[in-house]
Assembly symmetry: C2
Homo-oligomer: 547 residues x 2
């Protein structure tokens, strides 16, 4: 270790550990009267938010929660969720944001694995929790969350949220503690194995928030976040803290709108009634908003959107833009808190017509400040930034999960070589723009090179005979792997299969592709296997090919 100059602090000097409670200081000073809105059910000021967080801390303490305990939350996106984002970590406990879209079996696994002590459960999820109750091995109590009239339940609840808050004292002296204390926990699901617990500390969340305020606020062109914006999340709060933006919005003192369930017509209505100006969502939700009953044929002027989670197509971006939405992209994952990259527009980009800007706006973007990001090959060597060569994205940043809960082996794999491995394959162009091309498990390793299965699919899908296509790598003695394509033909296409295969091979060859990247084999099928969430099940395809 290098010997630098470290001076012990003067007597009395306050070391200032980075704690979530500090994110609350500024919003209420800037905008004490600004509103927090829960759909059409409740609205109150920042002054009330701060008071309610103190009341909630008292209610949780009365329910037996101590520092180091874990509090599970099953709720729709609401003011209560926001209050828990603060109050639970601020008393030194861990907030487990339960993924309510998992199967009952997976919810049970995560709650036992997290060792939840108290469970906050919305009426809508009472049937689920009642069903699991007998198998929850660590839970000591339940607290009921109700929108209108509390549902009947056989759970031994300590009381109802609003009722307990009303009864609780509105003062609470939030303690200081180690900034490396775990604040939040949630589970990420892959295609295989049990869900994995991803966790973030107070320090990490404070740093992610401070950096996001600058990144989102100081954009060239139209900044995504300014102090007069109105924020409504449309990625769920149980998933990586709604991308961390509720913390950002609270620090800035923005008006915040929590929509409850994500019903597209309802979201459109809230955009109009509450004058929402900033949201983040996945492309599928954007598409639903554009096409739903309330949204279709409508304009959405003044709505700035950060899109992420999966690739944004030019088609959706163009449609959204034509209807008044300012489109930006972000990139990150559960393990990265999540923000790693966002769209960055230079002065010359901004002088182009919007239609030309969209090519930049739909890409993964440029790494944000404090993020050290590179692409590496299978041997760990840096891959050139030529916009072509593929490498796995590995990152360092002050807000990355330091492992998976109680899974040291999986954590060590994630952090191989001191860099967090995203599993995403990308190129980086000369201007620093990152473009995700594939997942590493789906990339085809052939002739010492990596080929993106997604790029091949995109190329093949342009042929008029092809309705849908999936490309996977299959073992090849000479090349290591060779691509194989599964094709569903357009109905009414009668060309001989052998002839069509040759056609498609020539078609692919014209697309600036190396010889070894041309699929040697095309298989014509009536259906492509999909996973439960509608993605191509490449794992299954590979298994079937190998068996």
């Amino acid at each position: 270790m290098i010997e630098t100059k470290i001076i012990p602090p003067a007597a009395g000097a306050y070391a200032y550990p980075l704690l979530i409670k500090q994110l609350l200081l500024s919003g209420v000073r800037y905008e004490p009267g600004r509103e927090i809105v829960y759909a059409d059910k409740l609205r109150y000021s920042y002054q009330t938010l701060n008071q309610r967080i103190r009341r909630l801390a008292n209610a949780l303490t009365a329910a037996g929660v101590k520092a180091g305990d874990t509090v599970a939350l099953l709720d729709w996106d609401s003011h209560r969720y926001l209050e828990c984002f603060f109050a639970v970590p601020m008393i030194g406990a861990v907030l487990h944001t339960v993924n309510i879209r998992l199967s009952a079996e997976q919810v049970l696994f995560t709650m036992n694995h997290a060792e939840d002590d108290l469970v906050l459960v919305h009426d809508d999820f009472l049937p689920l929790v009642e069903q699991l109750q007998g198998q929850l091995t660590t839970v000591k109590g339940y607290l009921q969350l109700t929108d209108e009239t509390a549902a009947e339940t056989c759970l031994p609840v300590v009381g109802e949220y609003e009722h307990l808050l009303a009864e609780a004292a509105d003062q609470y002296a939030f303690p200081d503690f180690d900034e490396n204390s775990v604040a939040t926990l949630f589970y990420t699901t892959g295609t295989t194995g049990d869900p994995k617990g991803v966790y973030f500390t107070h320090r990490q969340l404070v740093l992610h928030t401070l950096n996001a305020v600058g990144t989102l606020g100081a954009y060239q062109g139209l900044p995504l976040l300014r102090s007069d914006d109105v924020y409504m999340p449309i990625t769920p709060m149980f998933h990586v803290h709604a991308w961390g933006v509720p913390y950002v919005a609270t620090l800035m003192g923005l008006k915040q709108v929590y929509p409850g369930r994500y019903e597209p017509n309802r979201l459109v209505q809230l955009y109009r009634e509450e004058k929402v100006t900033f949201s983040h969502c996945v492309p599928t939700i954007l598409q639903m908003i554009l096409n739903c009953e309330a949204g279709k044929h409508s304009r959405f002027d003044g709505w700035k959107m950060l899109l992420g989670g999966s690739a944004l197509t030019l088609g959706i971006a163009s449609e959204a833009s034509a209807r008044g939405i300012q489109v930006h992209s972000g990139y990150g994952m559960s393990e990265t808190c999540p923000v790693l990259c966002t769209t960055y527009l230079r002065a010359d980009d901004l002088q182009q017509p919007m239609q030309d800007q969209l090519a930049t706006r739909i890409k993964t973007g440029v790494p944000v400040p404090m993020v050290d990001l590179k692409i590496i090959d299978a041997e760990g060597n840096d891959v050139p930034h030529d916009g072509e060569a593929l490498g796995e994205i590995v990152v360092r940043a002050p807000w990355l999960t330091q492992g998976y809960l109680k899974e040291p082996q999986k954590g060590a794999e994630l952090w191989q070589g001191g860099w967090l491995h995203t599993g995403d394959m990308a190129s980086i162009d000369a201007r620093g723009g990152v473009e995700i091309k594939d997942r590493i498990k789906d990339v085809i390793k052939t002739g010492g090179e990596w080929i993106s299965s997604l790029e091949l699919e995109s190329l093949i899908s342009e042929h008029p005979a092809v309705m849908s296509v999936a490309v996977v790598g299959i073992v090849d003695e000479q090349w290591g792997e060779r691509p194989m394509a599964l094709v569903v033909c357009e109905p009414g296409h009668y060309l001989d299969r052998k002839l069509l295969e040759a056609h498609l091979q020539t078609f692919v060859e014209r697309g600036r592709i190396n010889k070894w990247a041309i699929p040697k084999q095309f298989k014509f099928v009536t259906e492509i296997p999909k996973t439960s969430v509608g993605k191509i099940n490449k794992k299954l395809i590979r298994e079937e090919e190998m068996s």
Copy 2:
């Protein structure tokens, strides 16, 4: 200590200490071609900046600088200063930014007290350093900084800066080390005693920078900093890192203009030629810019300015605003890195005409995010936020000096009770606006209350017979202290002194002032004692009254 959940990191997980080198990551990615300009002498890109910082690290290492050493810098505001802000701390050494405006005796004191190892000295300061050389007890080497042709010197210099950089390798693997390592050091001077060494760590500078990007970037109305702004500092880089903004500008990838010496006509010329859009300065400099040959009768459209250091009068703010300058205020001090408060304009403020906004814009502002700030009375109790009651500002923030170098007693006084004592007396209004009213040593403690000497001076100065006035507290058996006013009369004023005293007492009484706050004694003088920097020397006045 509270028992929270702390999880050891997975094998290989990178802990990411907060280090200044990380502030360099993003600017060059966002804007590789953006320029760093040194007046009319040199301009280069961010790519070159990053390369030069690596060359400088090699040159410093070759000159014998090791981690833990201290490097002194005597230079005008330049690209070299910016490069040293990065390269010196990035190799683990401490950058001592020498205040070139101090007396030779004080410079000598600070350089010996800091235990400087290597001295980087601009040609213009060679005579000073040559004169001190024999008395510098720790210095092992000198490095010459030259704008054009190197001056002759008897100092044993290792070489000239540009020459050494040209010779040095352009790769350097900057090491990781403890984020609490000291990065920078400079001296603050009071009216009494030796200069005191104030120091900041890597962690503190990173946190100050991240917070400032958000604070300056996400303003309501016109944000002070966006990625297309052009930055030129007009507070010296030796003083609290030019308010930390060079780090902010570099992180964002802004065009930066370093003006060398602060000659008002030259600053106006640089504003015009380089299209500067953001600067920070003290009110005196702003006034000089408005009134200098090149500036008078000119407009300064598009120039946003953050004013601080001393109170901004409505007169100067109005003049600047009428000529196109966007005026904001900031508050902080050497010990606070410095930013604590900045102007915050709410939606209703922004709807007012600019002339009405100025009353808010010239005030101290609202504490920025992460700053915990309160006003307390002499017993340490909180003072109400009614816009009237005075208290001393005490603060906590993640970027406050943790003491004074080698002065544990003074450090403990600064941090009494776990809060940094600013020595500034202020009120806070119901809207959270802080307004500095006085220095605590100048405030008058009378009848159990604190009276601002500045407010009394302001009131008395409104009387037509008064040309200038100074108010100090003098010991009073009944009241503790009573105010005493020294008055210089307007020339041609012939009223009897006794009569004028009574007049002024009645005049003050009308100004909503408590009875005990009315100066019992007015002294009519021909001159008010001033310090070397032109401030009223209240210490001297009090001493003369007591003797």
